[in-house]
């Protein structure tokens, strides 16, 4: 269950940034979760609701967007939505491509005043 460590780093990053900008409170956060990031959006949401209390994000609402995964074929450079486990390229059949998108979790933006 590493959702908790993700959430505490989210709160720390936003709180630090908001304080630097002299904001009093954070009202909204848009978070992007890669479809293959091994983090569960519901668990993240749950963890956020608990972890935000007492922080500058206490009154914030969250939008969590799941980002589709994308791979690029190592052979023919086709971009495609990878199917685990083999990540087979749909146009030339080469397996084992790398990920372009969908492995990461990141903060898109937040709003505060």
């Amino acid at each position: 269950m590493h959702e908790l460590s993700i959430v505490s780093s989210l709160i720390e990053i936003i709180a630090t940034d908001a304080r630097e900008k002299g904001l009093q409170e954070v009202t909204f956060v848009r978070l992007i979760i890669g479809a293959l990031s091994s983090a569960n959006p519901r668990a993240i949401e749950f963890a956020l609701e608990h972890a935000k209390s007492g922080s500058i994000l206490e009154g914030a609402s969250f939008e969590i967007v799941v980002e589709e995964a994308q791979s690029k074929c190592v052979n023919c450079a086709t971009l495609f939505e990878p199917q685990l486990p083999f990540l087979m390229c749909p146009s030339c059949g080469t397996p084992s491509s790398s990920f372009e998108k969908g492995r990461e979790i990141y903060i898109d933006y937040y709003e505060g005043e």
């Binding site: 989210l10 940034d17 293959l36 685990l84 486990p85 083999f86 084992s96 898109d108 709003e111 505060g112």
Partner: protein
């Protein structure tokens, strides 16, 4: 006001991992991050590996475990440089814990030539956290079944070596070694694969020789 951050939430871990890599590089320490399911044979293989390599090299171990120090006890005969991390329920190790040990709590770990890390027994989460290792090793025991590489491909995709363990049990379980090897090659064509048994010692020498070659490359 709206503030765009585009900030990766694993960036802090990536930065700590990069710091660790730098320190390990300066000291010429080869760090090996070992992961795999609970009970796949990580500690047993470490016992056999340390037994063979400790007469020749200075070895150290960081033992990740949820709550106990039992695995660390098992390795005591082979090296005194063992540090236990209890994560108290957390499912993986993070780079900043390792960095804290290297720079604050246990700097003598940097006197080692090879530093092994036994990660928490878990086939999902440890793969998401770079610790700054030179080589990542994923264990798969024949008792877990053929389907595990297909069910947990990310654990096998982003690793430098795959050890198929408990080979002595091959005749007792319906594990198809050829099929598993084929799947693994498709999932990760770059990884080397070592079938071995900590119980009989089969294949352990080959794995140890490979570690030695990595160490030589690093310290050249």
């Amino acid at each position: 006001m709206r503030v765009y951050l585009a900030k990766n939430l694993r960036e802090a871990n990536k930065n700590s991992a990069a710091d660790n890599r730098k320190i390990l590089g300066e000291h010429g320490v080869l760090m090996v991050n070992m992961m795999g399911s609970p009970g796949c044979g990580k500690t047993s293989l470490l016992e056999e590996t340390l037994k063979r390599l400790s007469p020749k090299y200075r070895l150290a171990v960081i033992e990740g475990d949820l709550y106990t120090a039992e695995d660390a006890q098992r390795l005591k005969p082979w090296t005194s440089e063992i540090v236990q991390i209890n994560t108290e329920g957390a499912c993986h190790l993070e780079a900043n814990y390792i960095g804290h040990l290297l720079t604050q709590n246990s700097p003598s770990l940097l006197d080692a030539e090879i530093l092994f890390i036994e990660n928490i027994g878990n086939l999902v989460c440890p793969a998401e956290f770079d610790l700054g290792e030179d080589i990542r090793v994923t264990l798969l025991s024949v008792t877990e079944g053929n389907d595990k590489p297909r069910k947990y491909p990310l654990a096998f995709k982003e690793t430098g070596a795959i050890l198929i363990t408990k080979l002595d049990l091959l005749d007792y379980v319906n594990f198809n070694l050829e099929r598993a090897t084929l799947d693994l090659k498709i999932i990760n064509e770059r990884s080397v694969i070592f079938p071995l048994s900590a119980k009989t010692g089969e294949g352990v020498e080959t794995w140890c020789n490979w570690l030695e070659s990595l160490l030589k490359k690093k310290r050249k």
